[in-house]
Each structure stands twice: as structure tokens, then as C-alpha cells.
Symmetry: D3
Subunit: 131 residues, 6 copies
């Protein structure tokens, strides 16, 4: 359970920029993908599967979009200097939400890999916010 | 500063449904609106203002959408019975993101009212998750 | 057959607001959903079914959107006072276009229920326009 | 005032196709454009004008889209044979919703011209539905 | 192989208008459709087929959109006078990307027909640019 | 003038994947941005400027999207090994289409810088297609 009062310090993104970003937006969609894959495992109804795959496709695209926004709009040259692995990390994370990842696969392990990569990016993100 | 390890229990929404919702999605966009209004106050460049108003319009629409999803997809009849104010609360919150709210206004107080309404909805949301 | 000259007094919606709304926009999409379900009943081709379910998903989302716009942008506090059932009515109608309604179901009866709810909302809408 | 019971025989479009079309969808948006232009005439607030022009742009694009759908998806070769002016009529109508029409202009006469063209198309549409 | 330096004189479209159009945008999507149909022929996995049909639907819609933009925004009355077949040509091309064309069919011949029509339109387009 | 017969070997992208990509898609939108900036320089009408800035915002977002697709979906680890500057190059190009680039600026030089970066990416792209 999440304590409400403590955790509503969420962050957003737009390209004004408003100056507010949060890797949680990517993670929200990745959690949803994991939930969808779980429901697919239990269900042989082809019409349900169609809906689930369609929605999984959309949610995976949203993961890619939110990560691209962080990579282009939030992270600046000093971040890439300090974290030389950051380019590759975001590239791998976005690939994990694509055809070779959660779009093309029904394997829950892919969703877990994606979540783990997003957490690595988030860890760097929050370190840069502290300094 | 947000402690990373503790707060990444975010929640999402889709209409499969994946079973994951989070009022944070609406709040993220409302925080962005507040940031945009703050930047508008300091800036007389008409071209910048055009961009800011355009983005504020989009972010306000996203607030409305995220709240509508909670109202229709997450909340069920027993919730509306237990919280008889819930219909009106969500209705007022979505109006606060519309023409008489953050779309039509540049007043930071409107953004604060919207944030407060979202927090009221979030409080109810998390109570229903606990029970 | 519809007599052309008599019925082209249609109404729209945007959030300027332009002041023009019409429940017909929701009904149009619900009629389409009913047509799609009818075509699904007669067709076992899995590729056709994929297309139909995909389009039914989009049309159902449009129904929800058009009803949400009426609920938030058109209806005002005096309407909710005069029609105390209005919140629940719109909530039920939007649920009927979601996972437990026309998105998740291939039952034509669901489309009929949705159409009936939209007609109830439209009846109230036109009463409020007359007074 | 529109008599509710008589007029809810609206029609929709999708590319399944569901077999339901209605020129009212284009007219709804054109009415909205006319309303927006009316509100622009009375208002010098640059921030309001930005919102109005943005929304007018979107509504004009919707007019174009709804007319394109009729032209491509509803009208068939026999219709174009019977109504040799139909290609040009739809082309002119869509141009009237573009840069040289309601997108680029604030002249209410442009909206009226657009509405008149849509009505010409609608007249043909309903004739083809009768035969 | 395309020689890079020679061919990057591409053209775009918007409704400002920026004055830049290019039939290549429609062809790009039609090539993609042909590729998707090729991959469908080799694959019986129903979940892959769902993804492919969903994406084919989107790409077909993009073909229609890009052709509609040329027809309404680029081509002017003198073009339609000089090329009296142009209306019908674009109409047939857009139908070939719809329910009776690449949306509803898995036949590669449909994609080839669509590509051929786009090339006919492109030929006229480039002739009008020269004169 | 572009010789029609020689250059229609365009390429597309989707995440099936269809296997077809082309940096021309990004360049098309960047050319459009440059055209828009040129028209803004000659025009003081605030309503025209609103339209132009709105469309420039959309076209810039499309540039970012097309480049992100290349970076995530087309380029593979061996490409990043062979071209160690590729991550930074794409990152800089997408930033040039954002708030510090063509979204936030009316300077034609920004559009030229963006075009030059896209050409650098395209050069690498076509080299990888040859090998
Ligand atoms: Ni922002
Ligand atoms: Ni969900
Ligand atoms: Ni309106
Ligand atoms: Ni339809
Ligand atoms: Ni353009
Ligand atoms: Ni592709």
C-alpha cells in the first residue's frame, strides 16, 4: 500500500518545457504491459487476445515515447558525460518495448527486463535531480 | 527529493483492463500546467505565449482524460455508494481543467484548485485500494 | 429515410467552448458498434475479426469521449440538481462502452443497452435546451 | 428546437465498413467553426484568440476528414457517374476548410460557404440513400 | 541502392501551407503495407497476425491521408482541368487503401495496384511541378 | 527538379517491423519547418503567426519521432559500435527539433542546423544499408 500524503510529488514533461519530468510515466505503462501479459497467459479466447495485443502495442509505444522524452528533453550533455552508459541504456530500454521486446513477445520475462531497465534509468534520473 | 526505491509502485490504466490505475497520472499533468502558467507570468513574447497556451491546452485535456478514466473504469457502484460526493467531485475537477478552468485561465489559483481536487480524488482512490 | 431539409440542425462540441453540443455524436458511434457486432456474428475469418475488434475498440472509445464531453462541458450544476440521476446515468453509459460493455463483449444486446442509455441522456439534454 | 424522438436516426462511418455514414458529422464541425469565428469577432484578448485559432484549426481538419471519408468510402463509381459534379464539389468543400478557407480566414462568410457546400453534398448523399 | 547526395530533395505538406508536398509520403506507407503482407504470408502465429493486421490498418489509413492532402491541398483547379482523370485516379487510389483494398485484403496484388496508382499520381504531380 | 522514375525507392518504418526505414521522413518535416520559419519572417499578422507556430510545433514533434524511430528500431548494436558518435548525433538532432531548437526558435539557422544533422544521420544510415 502506498501512503497517499507522502508520494504525490509526481513529475511531468512537456516541451515548453515546464521543467517537470518523471520516469514513473514510463514505468506506469510497463507495469500495465506486465499485467496484460499475465492476463493473456490465462486466456485462449481469440477475441480477447486481439484486444490484449492491441492494447499491449499501444502501451509499449507509450513506454518508448516517455523514455525518448527523457533522453532528448531532460538529459543534457553533462549527464551523458557523467553516465557514459546512459545512451546505450535508454536505447536498450526502448528496444525492449519494441518488436524484439514487449510488442513482439508474450513472455513476462521481457516485461521484467523492461521494468529493470526503466529502474536503472530512473536511478540515474533521481541522482541527477539531487546534485 | 523522492527516495527512488520506495516510490516506484506506480499504477496505470487501460481498458483491457490491466487492473492498474493511479491518480498520479492526472496530477502529473496538473503540475505541468502550474509550471506553464508560472512561465507565462514572466514572459511577454507573443510567440512564446502561443506555444505555452497550446501546450497548456493539451495538458489540460490530458488531466480531463485521466480523471474520466478513473471515474468510468476504476470506480464501481459500491465506491459511489460509499462516497456520495464522488460524482460531483470528479465533475468539478474535470471542469477545472476546461474552459472555465486551466484551459481558459492564466490564473495560478485555478491550477492550485485543480491540484487540490485531484488530491481529494486521490485520497478516496487510495482508501478504496486499502479496503 | 431521413428528410434532409429538416434534420440538418446538428450540434457540436469543443472546449473553447463554441457552445454547440449534440448527443448524436455518441449515438453515431454506438450505431456503428452495433453494425460491427452484426458483421462479426456472420464471419469466422480471424483476420476480419481482428479488424472488426480493433475498430469496435476505437468506436467504443469515441462513445466514451463524446459522453464525457457532455458530462463535463455541457451539463452544469443546475442540470445535475434537476436530474439527480444524471451522474449515474452517464457513468453507466460510459461503462457500457468499456471493458464490461461493447469493448469486451460481442453481444448485440450490449450495444442496444448502450444505445438506450444514450437516448436517456439525449432526452435530458434536449429538455435542458428547451427550457 | 429539435424533436428528440424523430431525429435520432444518425449515421456513422468507419472503414470496416459498418455501412453507416452521415454528412452531419462534417456539418457539426463546420457549425462549430462558425461559432468560433463569431466569438473571435468579439474578443481582442490575444490569449483567447490563440485558443480559438488552435481549436478552429482542429475543427477544420475534422471537416476535411469527414468529407474525405464520404468521398472515398461511401460514394461509389455509379454515384460519380450520376453526379458528375461530385468530385469537384467535395474538392471545393475540403479546400474551404483549409488554408484558403476556414483555417486561414476569420471571415464568417467562409464558414457559411463551407456550410452551403456541405449541404450540397448532403443533398446528394440522401438522394443516393433513397434510391 | 539510393545515392544519398542526389535524392535528399524530399518534400512535405502542411496546411499553413509551407508549400512543400511529395507523393513519396504516400508511397512510403504503401511499401510498408506490401512488406507487412509479405510477412503475413509466411506466418501462422495468430498473435503475430493480429499485430500485422493492426499495423497494416494504420499504414493504410496513412496512405489515404497523404493522398487526400495532395488532392485537396496541393492540386488546384488548373491541374484538374489539365488532367481530367485526376479526381477519379485519386479516388481509386484511396479506395485501394481502404476496406476493399489493403485494409480488407491480404493479397499482395492489392498492394501492387495501390503502388501503381500512387505512381500515376506522382507522375502527374512532378509534371505540374516542372511546368 | 526530381526525376520521378529514379527516385521513388522510398522507405518506411513501422514496428512490425516491415523492415523499411528512410531518414527522408525526418527531413521532409524539417524542410517544412524551414518553410514555415520563412513565412513567419514576412508576416506580422498575429493570427497567422499563431497558426504557423502551432504547425511548426507539430512538424518539430514529427522530426523528433522519425529520428527516435531510426535510433531505436533501425540502428542495431553493430551500428553503434561502428559509429561511436551516433548516439550523440541523434540526441543532438532531436534536441534541435525541441524547445532549444525549432520549437522554441524562429531562427532559420536552427532549421539549417537541424537539416545538417539529419543529413549526417542519413549518410550513416545509407552506409549501413550498403554494407
Ligand atoms: Ni513539461
Ligand atoms: Ni490498464
Ligand atoms: Ni465546441
Ligand atoms: Ni463505419
Ligand atoms: Ni506544409
Ligand atoms: Ni515498418
Amino acid at each position: 500500500m502506498r501512503l497517499f500524503a507522502k508520494t504525490i510529488d509526481v513529475h511531468a514533461h512537456c516541451d515548453l518545457p515546464c521543467g517537470v519530468y518523471d520516469p514513473a510515466q514510463a514505468r506506469i505503462e510497463a507495469e500495465s504491459i506486465k499485467g496484460i501479459i499475465g492476463k493473456l497467459a490465462d486466456n485462449d479466447d481469440p477475441d480477447f487476445r486481439t484486444r490484449a495485443i492491441l492494447i499491449k502495442e499501444q502501451r509499449s509505444e507509450l513506454v518508448k515515447h516517455h523514455l525518448w522524452v527523457l533522453w532528448t528533453d531532460y538529459f543534457k550533455p553533462p549527464h551523458f558525460e557523467k553516465y557514459p552508459q546512459l545512451h546505450q541504456l535508454v536505447n536498450e530500454a526502448t528496444k525492449l518495448a519494441g518488436a524484439t521486446g514487449t510488442k513482439g513477445s508474450l513472455d513476462e520475462a521481457k516485461a521484467d527486463e523492461l521494468l529493470a531497465k526503466i529502474d536503472e534509468i530512473a536511478k540515474i534520473f533521481w541522482e541527477t535531480k539531487q546534485s
